[in-house]
């Protein structure tokens, strides 16, 4: 905090409004220095590295390497997995948010649900992977139970396939995230609006169709996009579950980073990372636009 006293000496206490921009800029120097090293540099390493070939010469080789069949299928798997779990999470999470919002504010149900969802959505990762190993893994609780009624899950790689098991595990942390993101929007619905609709003779359907629906729509789609990027960027859960192959793109990048088997594959990893950033950036831009609209309507 010493840096704050230095520029402060240029301003006499009696004249707090005087401006010395160069002096004032010193105060934000540590922040910019830090983010330059640990945020800007890594980003540039990825962006520039994606276009560097052998001997650090500019090349499009890494980007064209993205058209390899396993990379393409990993991208497709990732996008499908993220989209499916985002929709599932958004729908069930929205229902749950509304159910929790109708409860007493500050009640036990709401406290327990928000705390539980906070843990499951943000703390997840490896721990959730093990939770599902205990549930539907080879020796899992549900697996054994299902065997008794004649359904065999053990012996198949069911849990590790991006189109089946991973959808289940990802949905498990998407629903809680939806609650955290969407609950404030549902709580923003004023009871007066409902009463006004009823006074004017509107049915429940009319209320949802003409009042609550349109107000919640931007938040809902915004939350959906956030859920998509959340699933798309998730690495830990899949890394702890999948031991063979790299069916989704974060695992491909992790593989490219940790294996030094193929020389020159390192920069292909950067190209894949850049591809991920492009997809996330597009989705997040949409999200920012929607958020601005939501803020306007809900006055948050």
């Amino acid at each position: 905090m010493a840096e704050l006293t230095a520029p402060g000496t240029t301003v006499a206490p009696g004249r707090p409004t005087s401006r010395r921009p160069t002096g004032a800029l010193l105060g934000v120097l540590p922040f910019f220095g830090y983010t330059a090293i640990f945020l800007l540099t890594p980003t540039l390493v990825v962006v520039i590295g994606a276009f560097l070939g052998d001997g650090n010469r500019p090349s499009l080789g890494n980007v064209t390497a993205l058209t390899q069949p396993q990379v393409v299928s990993a991208f497709v798997n990732s996008v499908v997995l993220s989209a499916v779990t985002a929709v599932l999470g958004a729908v069930f999470g929205a229902l749950l948010s509304y159910a929790v919002a109708t409860g007493r504010p500050g009640g036990t149900l709401r406290r327990v649900m928000t705390a539980l969802c906070g843990v499951l959505a943000q703390f997840g990762g490896v721990t959730l992977a093990f939770a599902f190993v205990a549930t539907v893994g080879m020796q899992g609780f549900v697996t054994i139970w299902l065997q008794k009624i004649g359904v065999d899950l053990a012996g198949s790689t069911w849990l590790f396939e991006p189109t089946r098991g991973l959808v289940l595990v990802y949905t498990y942390f998407q629903i809680p995230l939806m609650l955290i993101v969407f609950l404030p929007a549902v709580e923003g619905l004023r009871p007066q609006w409902r009463e006004a609709a009823e006074t004017l003779g509107g049915s429940t359907w009319d209320y949802w169709r003409h009042v609550a629906g349109p107000i919640l729509a931007p938040s809902f789609i915004g939350a959906l996009l956030l859920l998509f990027t959340n699933a798309f960027s998730a690495y830990a859960t899949a890394a702890a579950l999948v031991s063979q192959g790299s069916p989704i793109i974060p695992l491909q990048i992790g593989g490219a980073l940790s294996s030094e088997v193929l020389l020159g594959q390192e920069n292909v990893g950067k190209a894949m990372a850049l591809g991920m950033v492009v997809i996330v950036a597009v989705v997040m831009t949409l999200y920012a636009v929607l958020e601005r609209r939501t803020t306007r309507w809900l006055g948050r």
């Binding site: 159910a99 409860g103 928000t114 703390f123 020796q139 702890a240």
Partner: protein, 275 residues
């Protein structure tokens, strides 16, 4: 009136059904974890896994990586929070006081990590950490630099809400005109006024750091999650038990936090009264 009563009854049923169904889905893996960790080798129940876990000397002897990971994660949580606060609170206050034109830029930088997944960041961090290793050594504790970047968006939002709720400019000018140094302004005027926000930012950061796996794993460092993952390859029971314990502790902390959060509602009420 009758309309409202019918609606309330319908809502109560809707609530019970939805919370029941989703709650069951949430609970199943958690119940499975308890069931899995209490299995006895020949069938039946036993608490062996849990007694091992609570026997510190046994953990130290049989699962040293768990102890290392836990210590590393605890240190990382503390250091990340400290660096985050030292970096953000003065900068954000300073920008509000003297460089209001720069607020958008700072906000953009702080929210940037949301668009850069950890798995992408780690690709770019590898060469940066080659330098960190060169200057500071290979200890896992230096992951804190990367973790500060990860927590930036969440910490920024929490602190920004806190600073928006108080009149930073008037407070700082009043203190300065009474002869306070900038350090005193920060430490004795600004910080006590935003302590709920600081607490929230700190808790979010701690939760994120304790749950982090991607960067630690791919930079070959140790932390709690890396340790749990390693254990899973050796002894499924113990790693599931540790996972369950971690989830439970995180839940209890967040549940306790929901009572602290009441302070925020009070402040919002106060703010709306002022305007």
């Amino acid at each position: 009136m009758r309309l409202q009563a019918t609606r309330r009854r319908r809502q109560a049923w809707f609530r019970r059904v939805v919370v029941g169904v989703v709650g069951l889905f949430f609970a199943l893996p958690l119940v499975a974890m308890v069931e899995f960790t209490t299995r006895a080798p020949g069938g039946g129940r036993s608490l062996d896994t849990w007694t091992t876990l609570f026997d510190l000397s046994a953990v130290d002897r049989d699962y040293p990586e768990l102890k290392t990971g836990l210590i590393a994660s605890a240190g990382l949580a503390v250091l990340t929070v400290v660096i985050m606060l030292v970096l953000l609170v003065p900068t954000m206050t300073w920008v509000r006081l003297r460089l209001p034109g720069m607020r958008r830029t700072i906000e953009f930088i702080c929210l940037l990590p949301l668009t850069i997944p950890a798995i992408v960041l780690v690709v770019g961090l590898a060469p940066v950490y080659a330098w960190v290793t060169y200057f500071l050594g290979e200890s896992s504790i230096w992951l804190c630099f990367a973790y500060v970047v990860l927590v930036l968006p969440y910490a920024y939002r929490a602190l920004d809400a806190g600073l928006s709720a108080i009149d930073v400019k008037t407070l700082a000018e009043a203190a300065r005109s009474l002869g306070a140094s900038w350090f005193t302004v920060m430490w004795k005027v600004i910080l006590p006024n935003i302590r709920t926000a600081v607490l929230l930012a700190a808790f979010l950061s701690v939760a994120l750091v304790l749950g982090e796996f991607t960067i630690a794993s791919l930079l070959n460092r140790d932390n709690l999650q890396v340790a749990i993952n390693l254990l899973g390859k050796r002894n499924a029971s113990i790693s599931i038990a540790v996972s369950f314990a971690a989830l439970l502790i995180a839940f209890l902390v967040l549940f306790a936090m929901s009572f602290v959060g009441n302070g925020r509602r009070l402040r919002r009420v106060r703010r709306s009264k002022e305007s």
